[in-house]
């Protein structure tokens, strides 16, 4: 990558885009299938907005929305992409599911999707590449310039536990209850270039850091950083990557609306200066959110106080109300508020389904019913 590719391409203020990694299930026992290539082939023949792409293993696909400034149009588009993907899957006797992890697949049975990059990743990372068959939501928020992107990245770093707890949907892995609300991020943490951005305050400083890492031969492009949040200069965005793929597109759109509203608050009010202290408490907060979700604790680096994460989220949603009114995200934030009040996440829903139906096959089946917007079959 040349330095010019590190030029930050400005994008419309507070535009947003969503990427969702999805599970492809067979309809026999609802284990992961391996039909990504055929599914993409069928989708080429169906008309749909956005984009659908392969992911690292043949059991995954990724859907991308286009760029939106409004929550309602984003939601409409995500629903249309979802419908097209579900329709294509039905033709191939497959199902599509959301959720951050498949409840019982075995990672050793996965196969790498045959592109040069994915084969390279398998060579570099060995079994970690196959274990990376976990499913996340990425949210892009547009920034006017690189300095603002660096600032927004630092502000978002404070709120990372919010996004983890509100999206948590990977309680099961490899046939076991992990005890975590989001077990997916443990898989990500194994990668050497995971973590967070260094504490730089301007885009120039960031480019200097990147160049140094490149000269060390540790990275070749921004893609090699598996950070929780990273600036994406070619899109002109900051990309939040800690979220589990929620069980529905509706929830995914709400979380994007939350990020957009938070960015509006950060840019218009400048409530928080970028602070290195955020990174002192970062891993603690992240762990709490992964392990306990909305029931976890949260250390506020700015007030130096420990409070329940649920409280911090509710407080934030209160503060964001006027910004939500301005952006048209009020409805989305109200739904998240209800969820926070009730301490109900997708992970809790999945555990309830397991308790009710008694098998992880049933959990995976209901995950796919939920994704398709089908009423669940009783029993």
């Amino acid at each position: 990558m040349t330095t010019s590719e590190m030029d930050f391409k400005p994008s419309p203020d507070l535009s947003m885009g969503v990427e969702l990694e999805l599970q492809i299930l067979n309809s026999r026992d609802y284990n992961l299938a391996r039909d990504a290539a055929d599914l993409l082939k069928v989708l080429e023949m169906l008309e749909h907005p956005g984009e659908v792409k392969p992911e690292i293993t043949e059991s995954m696909i990724e859907i991308n929305s286009s760029v939106h400034t409004r929550y309602d149009t984003l939601l409409v588009e995500l629903r249309r992409i979802r419908d097209a993907v579900v329709q294509a899957a039905t033709r191939l006797n497959l199902r599509i599911a959301g959720g951050g992890s498949h409840p019982f697949h075995k990672w050793s049975e996965r196969r790498i999707y045959p592109t040069e990059r994915f084969k390279y990743l398998l060579e570099v990372y060995g079994y970690l590449a196959k274990q990376f068959t976990v499913f996340g939501q990425h949210i892009h928020i547009g920034c006017p310039n690189g300095n603002e992107a660096v600032y927004l990245t630092h502000v978002f770093s404070r709120y990372i536990p919010h996004f983890i707890a509100l999206s948590a949907s990977s309680p099961f892995q490899q046939g076991e209850d992990t005890g975590f609300q989001s077990s997916r991020l443990n898989t990500v943490s194994a990668f050497p270039l995971s973590g967070h951005i260094p504490f730089v305050t301007t885009w120039d400083e960031f480019v200097a850091y990147f160049e140094k890492m490149r000269r060390f031969g540790i990275v070749e492009s921004m893609k090699d950083f598996y950070w929780d949040i990273r600036p994406k200069p070619e899109f002109g965005t900051v990309e939040i990557r800690v979220l589990d793929t929620p069980l529905t597109v509706e929830h995914a759109a709400r979380l994007a609306a939350y990020a957009q509203t938070l960015a509006h608050y950060a840019f218009t009010r400048r409530p928080l200066p970028a602070s290195p202290d955020v990174y002192l408490v970062y891993r603690h907060n992240r762990f709490q959110a992964c392990r306990y979700g909305l029931a976890g604790t949260f250390v506020d680096a700015y007030t130096q106080q420990q409070i329940p994460l649920q409280r911090d989220i509710i407080n934030t949603l209160e503060v964001l109300k006027p910004h939500a009114a301005e952006l048209g995200t009020g409805e989305a934030l109200a739904a998240l508020r209800a969820e926070a009040d009730a301490r109900r996440s997708d992970a809790a829903w999945l555990r309830d389904v397991h308790a009710e139906l008694g098998s992880l096959n049933d959990v995976a089946r209901r995950q796919s019913d939920e994704w398709a917007g089908r009423a669940p079959v009783p029993g």
Binding site: N26, S27, R28, D29, Y30, A33, R34, D35, A37, D38, K41, V42, M45, T90, R91, L92, N93, E109, R111, L357, G358, S359, N361, D362, R365, V377, P378, G379
Partner: protein, 399 residues
């Protein structure tokens, strides 16, 4: 000598259990050798061992010995058919109608081609029709077990299995209906002519339906315990196989119906998707060894060129049927050809149909056998290789 009566008496009586163990071991050895030395599927090896031990070879496994293996063979076949039925997703057939069209087309076209070719070569229409009807069916056991052996998964695998299930049913129904024609030919009464196929079909379907009700009811009672569900399914399968023999209905139709219904009537998903095939492996090996032992090289010599014509016509019919609808049925370019190849194997079920269709009329049996059994021998050996080729080239094997 009376004081030595505790010793075994000669000649030693054959013991079915010991025989099963020996066949299992010899089959496993032969299968593994075939894989290592010839790089062919193990199944071909099991059949080769059967041929060696059977009438065409050492004649250790003669008709009397084979009768002892019958029960294991039936259980193995029952497991395969049940698994196949359970994979037949009726929802899919409504979601992708072209698949159903493809299934009907390849069945009818292969029947047409075989019938036409045989009649062209001066085979009597009745014989040609029964032989062609038998040839519609691809081998559920071979396709299913090669797919298992390769851990194959994907569109070609799934479609091949669904097509096999459908063409097996069509073949069986057609053969049963042709039984009426045979009855007429041999001057049986009209009553028998109608009643025989009607009895087999209705009782088989009813037995499958009853079995699925029992299985679903008990599954609900057990709750979600995988081990209990496996025991339950194995029990019902074995009972059904036994009942088929006693009550003279069809194992094929009854077990397929059981598989299809237990999946498709299970509205509240009471039955867990457990893998009974894992326990079937030992029966599958003996199934193929025994099938191999039933085949005779002399049949091949007797049928000669007509076997080759039969196989060619069958392949042409199936390929046209599949290829015409492949692109409409949402699979990648090139997969259609592989799918036709995966449908090649003909199986022990063809043998069973030949025998059951004709056990009432030995003369007809001999004439029909000359047509079908040679082809069955070739395809029993080459079939697994064809399926392995197809699934590997489709990129669906996981080895």
């Amino acid at each position: 000598m009376t004081h030595l009566e505790f010793l075994p008496q000669f000649p030693l009586p054959a013991n079915p259990l010991a025989l099963f163990g020996v066949l299992l071991l010899v089959g496993a050895l032969g299968g593994e050798l075939t894989r290592r030395v010839l790089n062919l599927p193990r199944i071909t090896g099991y059949v080769l061992i059967g041929l060696t031990l059977g009438a065409s070879g050492l004649n250790v496994l003669d008709a009397k010995m084979l009768a002892y293996t019958r029960v294991f063979l039936d259980v193995g076949l029952g497991l395969v058919l049940f698994e196949l039925g359970r994979r037949l997703n009726l929802m899919w057939l409504t979601g992708d109608r072209w698949l159903l069209v493809m299934a009907s087309a390849e069945s009818l076209l292969s029947f047409g081609c075989m019938f036409g070719a045989l009649v062209w070569f001066d085979i009597k229409p009745l014989h040609a029709a029964v032989a062609a009807a038998i040839g519609i069916s691809s081998s559920p056991a071979i396709v299913m077990l090669v797919a298992r052996e390769l851990h194959a998964e994907g569109q070609v695998t799934e479609r091949a299995l669904n097509l096999v299930a459908i063409n097996s049913v069509i073949a069986f129904v057609l053969v049963t209906m042709l039984l009426s024609w045979i009855h007429r030919e041999y001057h049986a009464g009209v009553f028998v002519m109608v009643l025989h196929p009607a009895y087999i079909l209705s009782v088989s379907l009813f037995a499958g339906y009853l079995a699925s009700l029992v299985a679903l009811g008990l599954a609900r009672w057990f709750g979600k315990q995988a081990e209990m569900h496996i025991a339950l399914l194995l029990a019902v399968i074995v009972v059904l196989v036994g009942a088929a023999e006693t009550l003279k209905f069809s194992v094929l139709i009854a077990l397929l119906a059981f598989g299809v219904l237990v999946k498709n009537l299970d509205r509240d998903h009471a039955l867990m998707p457990v893998d009974v095939g894992r326990f079937g492996q030992i029966f599958f090996i003996v199934l193929f060894v025994a099938t191999g032992a039933m085949l005779k090289i002399t049949d091949l010599v007797a049928s000669g060129a007509i076997a080759a014509i039969y196989i060619a016509a069958r392949f042409v019919g199936k390929s046209i049927g599949v290829l015409c609808f492949a692109h409409l049925s949402g699979i990648r370019a090139g997969s259609g050809g592989l799918l036709s190849i995966a449908l090649l194997p003909m199986s022990g079920i063809a043998l069973a149909m030949t025998y059951s269709a004709t056990s009432l009329y030995p003369v007809f049996a001999a004439e029909l056998g000359a047509l079908v059994l040679g082809a069955a021998l070739i395809l029993e050996l080459a079939g697994p290789i064809a399926v392995q080729f197809a699934l590997r080239h489709a990129g669906e094997a996981h080895e």
